[in-house]
Amino acid sequence: MKRFVAALCLALLALPAMAEPVAIKVGVLRQEHSRETLSILDIPAADDALAGALLGAIDNNTTGKFTGQTFDVVDEKIAGAADAPAALDRLTGAGVALIIVDLPADALLAASDHLKDSSALLFNVSAPDELLREEACRANVFHVAPSRAMLADGLAQYLVWKKWPRWLMIKGSHPEDELLAQAYRRAAKKFGAKIVEERVYEDLGGGRRSDSGHTQTQRQMPMLTQNAPAYDVLLAVDENGVFGGYLPYRTWDPRPVVGSAGLFPTNWDPGHEQWGAQQLQNRFRQNYRRGMNARDNAAWLAMRIIGEATTRTQSAAPDKLRDFMHGADFSIAAFKGVRLSLRGWSQQLRQPILLSDGRMTVSVSPQEGFLHQLTELDTLGLDQPETKCRLK
């Protein structure tokens, strides 16, 4: 304890002095994700996303010992979008002005509207919709999670580098699947690949768990994929996990599966360990007894951004944080080999995309040779000249 106090006092000598220890409360607004997953390994834990924010707060508090700041997480888990306004009011009523949001796009937009007269800032850690970064972009929303276009471009660059340019697309029947398909069509055009045919897998409902389910699956998937034009990879477009996981090893032709199964693009995977990531994975597993998924990681990163901003600006005010993130010098380390920074025009975090097989990192995009006049990271997703975002 003595050591702690001594360290603290001296820390204040070295850093711009803060009047007194500042308590920063960060909200986590989240809704349970579907437990209907093809693999039981993917069923979300009760602390999904939240655990990332909690670990971020622990990391920030270690730094906070030296800077006189404490970080706390206020969790608001809601049953559905209808409960979001009341939860937001509870958060702002408790003095929370920085809120990590794990909600679908429409609920996120509603939350942004609900808070438009306050100074609060939202950090989107899951919704991948382009719309949120384009036509419907908002000044009070920062996107830590990558968009569908960034993910699709990350995978497409690797497939082109690998010289696997012919893709057979099998797409689900949900609206999100069409949005993801659009991102892949755009990526194919952008990087010179070809979607040789598109097929649809209709979601007819029904559960994912069944006894001896594989016996039917191994007959259905070959039929779904037979009589296809020549192709290199089978591209699964299945954001809700309805069928994608059934495709590997069951296709008519022996072809690798990519996209929503097989080799998939993501901002994070529990198997990622390069660039010191092992340390973060170890810390997470020690604390929460499970692997860190993409949403956990985005929530951790949102918390780290908040920590960096408050440490460097010596302020917890949302407008100071916004200015800091928009500053030319803003960058954040995230165990992905290069610094992450902000696309000021859409408030999207600029970041590499990991390509994982669920066991380890197979590659990381941008790939060598995909050039850009400013930063290769902007070869992923929509670039400034094509943006439709006008922040307000």
């Binding site: 050591r3 360290a7 001296l10 000598l13 340390q279 960058s331 290069v338």
Partner: protein, 326 residues
């Protein structure tokens, strides 16, 4: 004729150095992160002469002051191994705590300071007794370690807290915390103790700190035509004994920056192997060796000419490098 000439020069050389054996033959030790080995290089011949199998994932390496022993951070073995440099055999290990990466030795050589990343601690090890004698709580993911030439100040950098923690080695208390750019990885004092240089891998800068005033003095950033900002990732730093020049390894930019250490102006970028990690001078500062992770080689820089003169193949993923008299 040519032979005659060579002989002539050789004679001259002998004359100018006196009759003693050539003083310029040193041995360099290179840790191979994936090879689980140490490559020994003869810096006179500029070639690898020996490969020694060591523990798993060897990275940080440090020599005792007399050069008799090499300490090796074997991360995946959770230990610091001790290599006898005469027999080239492992003679024991020091209790480092989990996953050691970098260490530094007190000027007298009696204490090792090692960063213990999992517990946010700097761990102190008594070299003779080969046991832990204390620890100091620091920021998240402690990494870079350096000690002032007078031994009074220890510096630790924490990668996620983004600070250089200045520690009084007598009281073992932190006396100042200085914010630097993202992911500070390595620290090095000028030999006269007047400046402390800290590299920020992700931030892409060098922070020059005044250790007496305990404040940031200046930041150095890098620009290489045709390379993106993200690819310039400073890691290893070597400062000449006279404090006039610095060499900084720039990681995936595959270059070593040559800096005028007085004006802090960048003089030159030297193209070396791929993903250059750490650097070491020969004691006479004639050569600077660079460990190049991805290209599995060591580049040799002629320090006077500021030219890369050779690439020496070593083991898989070379990471750390130190040089000692033979």
């Amino acid at each position: 004729m040519q032979v005659e000439m060579k002989k002539h020069i050789f004679m001259l050389a002998l004359l100018s150095f006196g009759a003693a054996s050539p003083a310029f033959a040193y041995r360099a030790y290179v840790s191979n992160e994936k090879g689980n080995s140490i490559t020994v290089i003869d810096t006179d011949k500029l070639e690898a002469i020996e490969t020694v199998k060591v523990g798993r994932r060897p990275r940080g390496v440090e020599l005792t002051k007399d050069g008799a022993e090499l300490f090796i951070c074997a991360g995946d073995d959770d230990a610091i191994q001790v290599l006898d440099t005469k027999t080239l055999s492992i003679t024991g290990k020091l209790p480092s705590g989990p996953d050691p990466e970098l260490l530094t030795l007190s000027p007298g050589g009696e204490t090792i300071y090692v960063s213990n990343e999992n517990d946010n601690l700097v761990t102190l090890i008594d070299v003779k007794r080969r046991e832990q004698i204390g620890d100091i709580p620091v920021g998240v993911e402690p990494e870079g370690m350096a000690i002032s030439p007078d031994g009074g100040m220890l510096v630790n950098t924490s990668e996620t807290t983004n600070m250089a923690h200045l520690i009084d080695t007598k009281t073992k208390e932190i006396v100042a915390n200085i914010l630097v750019d993202s992911r500070p990885r390595y620290a090095e004092f000028k030999k006269d103790g007047s400046e402390l240089w800290v590299s920020s891998e992700v931030g892409g800068t060098i922070s020059v700190i005044d250790p007496k005033k305990r404040e940031l003095k200046q930041k150095i950033s890098f620009e290489i035509p045709g390379m993106s900002k993200e690819s310039i990732q400073p890691i290893g730093i070597s400062l000449t004994k006279d404090g006039k020049r610095a060499f900084v390894a720039l990681g995936p930019a595959n270059r070593v920056a040559v800096i005028d250490a007085e004006s802090k102006k960048i003089e030159k970028y030297l193209l070396v192997g791929q993903r250059v990690w750490h650097l070491a001078f020969t004691p006479d500062e004639k050569y600077l060796l660079t460990a190049n992770g991805v290209s599995n080689d060591v580049s040799v820089i002629d320090v006077a000419a500021l030219k890369v003169i050779k690439s020496i193949p070593v083991g898989a993923f070379p990471w750390g490098v130190v040089v000692a008299p033979q």
